[in-house]
Symmetry: C2
Subunit: 338 residues, 2 copies
DNA sequence: GATTCGAGTTATATCGATTCAATCGTCCTC
DNA sequence: GAGGACGATTGAATCGATATAACTCGAATC
């Protein structure tokens, strides 16, 4: 269990000063070719690896970026994270991923961790509407970019998709295929994405003069929750059942689909289903699932670019809001019955 | 852009020494209740958050654990990561997740990052067979546990599933339903999991006296790669086509399923398919996919426990190998045609 | 030949939390 | 009332990399 070598050891072996070693490591100042070679050889033979804690303490900032997501089990967020990761790599930064699992306490604990780490920047898909912690982070000088959420509250740059529009698109599609008793299945209404999609959906209904939207709320947007919600619908009198379902994300929709199919309900003939996110698995589901697509990887890239600009100080003084447009992906699950 | 408060500021405001602040923060030594209260109030009013880089520099080790996975886009690995994360939280440690994407260069770069961070421990699903870097990490005193791979090479504790047995189970199942011309679709044979599953499969064939297994290798195990491999099979003369496919993971299998169905091939009647991992989406696929299940979350938990024991020094001197048993999940995609 | 210049190098202060030997009180014991 | 004993607190040293001001030495300039 040998002790790790440090710059001092490297300097001694290469017969130079620690300052020179640092210059070789960071390329901040010119170093004579011969000297550089000696230093690199010393690093090699000692197996020296820079202690980032020391570097960070001195420099005052980490080379890491923190990212808070609502659910790592949801392919939407892992795709997002990959877009971010690929983009950060270009400026040799890396990502610490935190999973709040839609839980405010877990979110808080990760934000605290990120703050202790003095991350260079933060990408957040917040659980709730309160931004106290984020304000604090920013006051400390840490750039924050909201992801998948328009930065209306508080002044933060943001990358988002027009969720209200997405809700409209989904419900308009259901209306277009002749459905008149839609039900919305969503996660906690405290999650902004959920309530926005719901509002969008409701706006279509009021215009079309259709009965108000039935709403089923589940604390968490997983496939299990979707199955569970479907059970609730199956317990209704057949005459009371909806003829179509708009689920706030694809995991919910896939769970619903599975439970309905198992119970002998025909999709889309008896009940049509449309989801949200267009994750990869939506298209290959038992009944290929209609969904509202978001340009996931691109959103991650855009978010990372906004953040990088703020970190490097190349961003303007104004906060930017990049808003992507959602897109309908109509598939079998909302086909018009023959 | 105020400068962050440090322990010195807190100490001054609470009228104590920095040592006392540290004791309150870490609970290392008893502090009088009144003093503690003053310190906590000072922390509150200053909005002080400990600088972890400084802490880590002094202590010599981080509270983070690194984890290298082959593909974050694969639900198998995110489930694994959640098992790890949940378990690490019990000892208030957290996780940095690195995605090698089955690429040795990316793996190397993440391992370097983890080494710079002086992570407390490392969980690795390695891409290749070489363990130089891991040996170095360990020589430096960082515990390493291999995940999803038996630690035959080099002395590392490990958590794994008997992949050879899994391959046997899958192919035996295909033989049991009467298939005689199976094809194996896998990722790079440099990935140990792939070659083990293949070996297991081949061992069944030689015993059953069936023609040797056709093998299609793709560099990466994604659904796209699966679709691509299926195209290759579709280009064959119908008489040359396999009657069954064993895919090295479910993503590949789902891609294959999609391409075959689109081309009008009936599954399972014309070609039966079995995958591996039993990810959530396997059961809800267009044709519910048979698969070989691994106890994913439990593997993550076991790995985190082994690692935690090594970090805390409560592990014995012997390296441990936890081996889980794979389990057949037979579904529609390998049903015996009526 | 003296002076300036500049590339290369060095020595040292610094970042902020933790640690540990030393100190300070206060109470207890004989 | 002296001497311990013990709990609470202090303050300086420390971890390792980086930044900066100072310095060296040879070449160019006049």
């Amino acid at each position: 269990m040998m002790v790790a070598a440090n710059v001092r050891d490297v300097a001694a072996l290469a017969r130079v000063s620690v300052g020179t070693v640092s210059n070789v490591l960071n390329g901040t100042k010119k170093v004579a070719p011969g000297t550089e070679k000696r230093v690199l050889e010393a690093i090699e033979t000692l197996g020296f690896v820079r202690n980032d804690a020391a570097r960070q303490l001195r420099v005052g900032q980490s080379r890491m970026v923190g990212m808070m997501v609502l659910d790592v089990g949801n392919p939407f967020f892992t795709d997002l994270a990959r877009g971010v990761e690929d983009t950060l790599a270009l400026s040799s930064r890396s990502l610490i991923l935190g999973n709040s699992a839609e839980d405010a306490a877990r979110e808080e604990s990760y934000l605290h961790l990120f703050e202790e780490q003095r991350v260079a920047g933060l990408l957040v898909t917040p659980v709730s509407r309160t931004t106290d912690r984020l304000e604090r982070l920013r006051r400390r000088g840490t750039p924050v970019v909201l992801v998948d959420r328009f930065g209306g509250i508080g002044d933060f740059s943001s990358v988002s998709v027009d969720d209200r529009r997405g809700g409209q698109i989904a419900l308009q599609h259901l209306v277009d295929i002749g459905r008149v008793r839609p039900t919305f299945i969503g996660g906690s209404s405290a999650v902004v994405q959920v309530s926005e999609r719901l509002h969008g959906a409701q706006s279509v209904l009021s215009e079309a003069g259709i009965a108000p939207l039935r709403v089923i709320e589940r604390p968490y947007m997983s496939a299990d929750a979707g199955r569970d919600a479907a059970e609730e619908l199956l317990a209704l009198e057949p005459s009371e059942r909806p003829d179509s379902i708009f689920a706030a994300n694809d995991l919910l929709a896939l769970g619903v689909l599975q439970a309905l199919t198992r119970a002998g309900v025909r999709v889309p003939d008896d009940i049509a289903i449309i989801g949200y996110d267009d994750i990869y698995f939506a298209a290959s589901a038992a009944v290929p699932l209609s969904s509202v697509r978001q340009p996931t990887w691109g959103m991650g890239k855009a978010a990372a670019e906004l953040l990088t600009a703020e970190i490097d100080g190349t961003a303007g003084s104004e906060f930017q809001h990049v808003v992507f447009e959602p897109e309908l992906m109509a598939r079998e699950s909302t086909r018009v019955p023959a």
